[in-house]
Structure formats: C-alpha cells, structure tokens
Symmetry: C2
Subunit: 344 residues, 2 copies
Amino acid sequence: MNVNTYRLALIGFGNVGQGLTQIIRDLDFSEYGAKFQVVAVCDLLKGSVYHPDGLDPAELLEAIALKGSLESIHAPYRDWDAIRTITDTNADVVVEMSYTDLKTGEPAFTHIRTALRHGKHAIMTNKGPVALHYAELKTLANQQGVELGVEGTVMSGTPSLRLGTELLSAARITKIQGIVNGTTNYILTRMEQGNTYESALSEAQSKGYAEADPTGDVEGHDAVGKVVILANLLMGASLRINDVDRTGITGLTVQDIETARVAGERWKLIGTVEKTSAGVRASVQPTRLPISHPLAGVAGATNAITYTTQLLGEVTLVGPGAGRIETGYALIGDLLAIHRKKQK
Amino acid sequence: MNVNTYRLALIGFGNVGQGLTQIIRDLDFSEYGAKFQVVAVCDLLKGSVYHPDGLDPAELLEAIALKGSLESIHAPYRDWDAIRTITDTNADVVVEMSYTDLKTGEPAFTHIRTALRHGKHAIMTNKGPVALHYAELKTLANQQGVELGVEGTVMSGTPSLRLGTELLSAARITKIQGIVNGTTNYILTRMEQGNTYESALSEAQSKGYAEADPTGDVEGHDAVGKVVILANLLMGASLRINDVDRTGITGLTVQDIETARVAGERWKLIGTVEKTSAGVRASVQPTRLPISHPLAGVAGATNAITYTTQLLGEVTLVGPGAGRIETGYALIGDLLAIHRKKQK
C-alpha cells in the first residue's frame, strides 16, 4: 500500500502536544496508508525547533521530561515564532494547541487563519477559535481547498463530532444533550457521595481536573463553548457564546443533591441544543435527571452526549472528555480524515 | 450539487423493507448528493413487482397496509423470483432483508453472492450470511469492485460497526463488550422490577420483542451471531458460531437477580470479544456488572456496546437495537457509504 507522509508543525507543546507526539512515537499508521512526521514544534515557554527532514518524537519527549525545554534538541532552525513556524516550515498540517481564550480566540485564531491562507490544513483541540469563528474558518478552508479538524474541541478524542456529522446527520438530529465538562461532573459525583462542594472542588484541583481558578469550569463557560460548537457544527446554527443561557453548579447545595437522590434523580450540568420553531436554542444548566436517563449514570470525569434523532430516537456516546493521550487521539482522527479526503 | 440516483431491489418486504421504504417516501437525501429509488420488491408472501423507472414508495406501503400484498401495484414486470429480481432488474444495489438463518445463512447468502457476482452492491440487515460467511463475501465484493453494507446486523441503525471501523479502529480496539440482544435485556430489566422470568417473557412476546419460540433470543444464539460479526469485522478474527462460549438467560432466577441487586450489581447478557495472547476469544454470558459499569444502566430493549481501546480507554455507544425505521436507517447509512465511495 502507498503511504502518504504528513508533515506536522505543532503550535504549543503542553500535555496535548506531548500526547500526540507520544502516539506518533509508539504507533504505526501505515495500515491506513499514512505516516505522521513532526517537523516543527513551537512553544512559548519550552522553545521552538524546526527540522525539514523531521524531528525525533522520542527525543522531543525526553527533552521535556528531563529539562522541561527543547533547548537540547539538535535542529537546523530554532527560535522561530509561531507565525514563522506556520508559514516558513515545510509542514502540510498545522496543529494548533496553544492556550484557550473564549473571549477573543487568540492567538489560536490568527495561527489557524495564517495556516489556511498559506494552503495548510489546520487541526486543533482549542475550543476558542472554533466556538467564536467556526463559520469564517470553514469558509476560508473551503476556499483554500484544505481541511479544518476540530474533533478534539468536544469530548477530547471520543469521536462525538464525527459521530454526529458523519454517522447520525442523515437520521436528522433534533436535539443534543451532553455532559461536556468533566470537572463539574466529577464534583457533582463526589457531592452525591457525601462531600461538600468545597471539598469536592479541592479534590478535583489536586487531581488536576480543575484549575486553581475554577471559574471557567464551575460557572459553565467551558461547557458553553462546547455547546456553541455542537450547535454550529451539527445543527447548522450560527450561535454566539452570549446566545447560550448559562448557569453553573456553584449554586447547588448538598441539600439539593440529597433531595434529588431521595426522589431517584441526579443533578448533572447539562448542555442542551434544540431545534425549535424559533430557531436553534442552547443552554448550559444544572438539570435534575431521572436515574433512567442515559446521561444520569455518567459518573466522575467522564463525558457523554445524547443525540435525539428523528429516525433513531436517542443515541448516546460515552467516553473520556480529557487526558493527554485521549486528546492526542482526536488529532489522529483529524489527520486520518485529511488522509481519507486526499485519497478521493 | 450533482445528485446520483441509486436504484434499489428490495429482497424481502417485511418490517425492515417497509421501514426503509417509509424513510425513502418521507425524506430527501439530495443534500448528500444522493437519491434512492425502489425499482423492485420481491417478497415470498407479498408478491414481486419491478418497474425499471421506479415504483412509488407511498403506493407500495399503502398496498401492504390495505391488502397485505403487492397485487394491486401496477408494474410492467411481476412475479419474478428473488434471483431474477437480483440479476435481471436494473438495480444498482440489492437490499437483502429475507429471514435470518444462523445455520446456513440461506437463502440470503445465495442472494448476496448473486448480487455481487453481477456487479451489484449488496446491503443487508440479515445477520446470517454475515456471521457465517463475511470473509468470503468481502473478498468477492472487493474482487467485483462493489460494496458490502452490514451496519444493520448489529444494534440496528445505531452506527456501532462504523463507529468501530471508521472512528475507533486507529485507537486500537482491544476488547468489545455489548448488550446486543434487546429481548433478553428487556426480560432482565423486568425481572429486576420484580417480575418472574415467565411473566417477563410473555410480556416481551406481547410487545413483539420476543418471538413465539423465544429460543434464539433467550438461549443467546442471536447475540452469538452478533458477537461473531463484531469479532470478524472489528478485530480481524475469523471466528465461527461454534467458537463462541454461549450461555443464555434461562438459568437465571429471581433470587439471582435479587442477590445481585442487594450487592449493588446487575445481571446483563453480555457478549464479549477480547484480544488475548491465544487469539481473539468470544463469549455470550449472563454477567454481574457493578452498577457503575457503563452497560449496567442500559435498560429495557435498548442495546449498547463498550469498546475498550488502547488510546481512549472505554467508549460506549447506546441506542436502539431494533425497530422498523431504526433498522431501515442502517440501510440508509450503508447507501450513503456506497455514495461516499463513489465520490472518490
């Protein structure tokens, strides 16, 4: 079988970038007719290296493990900034994994536009630019004849977006409900098990599920970003962040959780997108679900989405919503999708 | 957008054939660039009609609803048998929906081989030929340059096979566990709710979930067929029906169910396929699952499969496992897959 090589420029080399690199180091994709080669890595803190013939993934990971930087990597070109790494390397695919900003989408939005304008595929795990600017990016990608890969922006590598767009869309999706934030689901699960909000939160922080400032998760901002992505990708809506009714979990008390439990119900932070006669409506809200609801049993940091369809009724996908290897796999899915398109 | 028309010959016109015809009557697939036209229907009991320019789906359904037969349909050709309907009509795609025989796979196996040999795509919801002869059929389809569609043989229209082959295979599936028989899951759910096996079974029969002779479901034969399909399609195994360790649910007592309940567990009939050092092993067995297992909460006639993967851990898909429209949708999925291949 013919094997196509795809040259990758990694913008950001945190957990996800390292997870992707680890997958590329350990696994072979030649049975799919594809080979993935990291030619450039650019990270604000860890440094920037470029080798047109490819960098060794094992050396990249070792350098980070030993020194926390890419300084020890031998490469003919180094210290290029993100824009130059995108425009001047021989990469075919730009992998955007810089930090998420749900207000401006920057700097990722500029990185992705630059990649597309230079005729390079862009794949990303960063919700910001997708929640804020999907339509514009998709139009630009189509004009340029390149692909946009966004699977990792919802449920990490669990293929929730492709399940919707490729396998369920012909069944006519009318409603989407999801547990799309693992941190809050972990906290709610621990509260059900008798912990206070404060102790559940600090446990989530110590496990690395929640950040020092947990606002983005517990007030529902992260879930809103994902709900906008689901609405715009799967229902052809053009929602903005502010169109989503948002309530976080900070108002829920141990008493609320206990009252629900006694009634055979559970509180979950549910993102909902629904087709109505007034257009697509979306919300993120703590919701009391009967124990028999397919989302009620989803415990801990696990995520899940229930698609309600005209032809199949409810179809639910349950899987990881975070993790370095798991999110790295989302990018592998995007790369293989680019590869399949190229075969046409 | 260009629209390709696919001409279908329906072999069998029971629930699934009618469900597919209803979808074609009611929904338009031109946004996918495809149009589906029924040109021939051949059913042992209801009759056989062929019109090279297409039959009206509404008239077909009305004839069955009013008279239970196709006798009133105006068509230039009629009373052709299945083989002639496959070979001598202008259909591009043969849709095999005759009755299931897990011992010989006939008559479906002959129908499908005939279709493939005549250069026609074959899609099916009939487990028999797929569980017994998948490798041979796949080889023949590849030789002939046509497609084989089998999505509806497991979990009806819930896209469990395509999720595995297209979206999860690169994550390396190491184990598959599923509730793939709705009848037994319905019976077990009702037993948990305090019913005896006998009353739960007769209820399942009155709801149309179980047949008059329930052996195929309650002794696990149906689930074994599906487990063989999962093993051979998703793990590249070449298992036969007799390679699967099989135990049905008839040995389970109300007391067993109650003992599990008290321990916070549930009995489910679980089909398992696992990669081991000794090759792929498969079984169908009543299994006590902790309530936290993603399959434990799957109630009633709903089906579900958990894929354990190297890169993503566990990913679970929950959805309908039967139903005329639901199974009809499996065939729409297969048709759209043929269409996507044709675009390449």
